[in-house]
Symmetry: C2
Subunit: 191 residues, 2 copies
């Protein structure tokens, strides 16, 4: 996605540890006009899939999922990482390992909001090791829902998440794939 590549080139900052900071438009400050272009692109790429619900994970994913949902005309459900008084006791739950933080955490969705009629599009900002996305796939499968696809804004192509999802037979669409962040330079895998 050309506009996304431009945003990353102009505003992205590479930090030690293969970190790409894009908090001026995607992770902290949110460029909502740009997110609409992202939403349109997801709609185009998943136009042939049946989708009844968009599933994402708090926090940054919520912005992308909600704006995109306007083009699919479906509700969003966001998985929670922490227990809250507002979460039903009766949830689907999956353990996710975070390599960056070196800890496990649970992602949960109330059983009310996913069921076996659902065709789920999973949306998230980043794909690196793929553990969060696989956790959301697991939640959908626990509900008996089918996974219509995974839509990612930025995939770190030098980490295994993309291949893992494809190995599961999942329709993955990443709007930008980063080949390398070596020497603080951003190299895209595709144009």
């Amino acid at each position: 996605m050309k506009l996304l590549h431009e945003k990353i080139n102009n505003q992205g900052q590479v930090r030690d540890g293969d970190i790409l900071k894009v908090d001026s438009f995607l992770n902290h400050q949110l460029d909502v006009a740009f997110l609409n272009e992202v939403g349109k692109e997801f709609k185009q790429r998943f136009n042939n899939e049946k989708i009844t619900k968009i599933v994402t994970i708090e926090a940054s994913g919520i912005a992308i999922a909600c704006i995109a949902a306007q083009y699919f005309d479906v509700p969003v459900v966001f998985a929670k990482k922490t227990d809250s008084r507002n979460l039903d006791a009766d949830t689907y739950s999956s353990n996710v390992h975070s390599y960056t933080k070196d800890l496990d955490y649970a992602v949960k969705i109330s059983k009310r909001y996913l069921n076996d009629d659902d065709h789920v599009l999973i949306i998230d900002d980043f794909l690196a090791n793929g553990q969060a996305a696989l956790g959301l796939v697991d939640l959908a499968k626990q509900a008996g829902a089918s996974v219509s696809g995974v839509g990612i804004v930025i995939e770190k192509g030098f980490q295994p998440g993309g291949q893992l999802l494809r190995d599961h037979g999942i329709h993955l669409e990443s709007l930008a794939v980063i080949k390398s962040l070596k020497n603080n330079e951003i190299e895209f895998a595709t144009n």
Copy 2:
């Protein structure tokens, strides 16, 4: 806001401890078409205010803020509750006391994304004791920004947050004000 009252009456669930669960459309599953009506209502109510940025707090606030931002044509910045590798070291920070969880936590915004030119509309899902909203007001003031208003979807009118904000001279708009949740019945303060 009539539509909101209807949604609360039809889908809200009252739980012990004055908890109003609205996770079918606002806190967990997100009814994006409805959020667009909320966004339009905020635009109408703050139409006379100069607004350059919408500020909210993760996680539920992000959905409302992003959809509303489309009607104001401004970016969103969401305050973070936890440190992450993606957050700049140089932040505005304010301590917030959570009465419901009985703990203090810091809310932070990178100094890059709030400055003294900004006119900030603060948006959040709930207003109860007002501590989170006052934390966001504090972040804006640290940046030298002016606070154009606070827009809340559901105010618990029987808790002190609304009065606290008005005492600070802040233009507060709550789309629904709950007068009481006693005996598991939802009573609105206004129609």
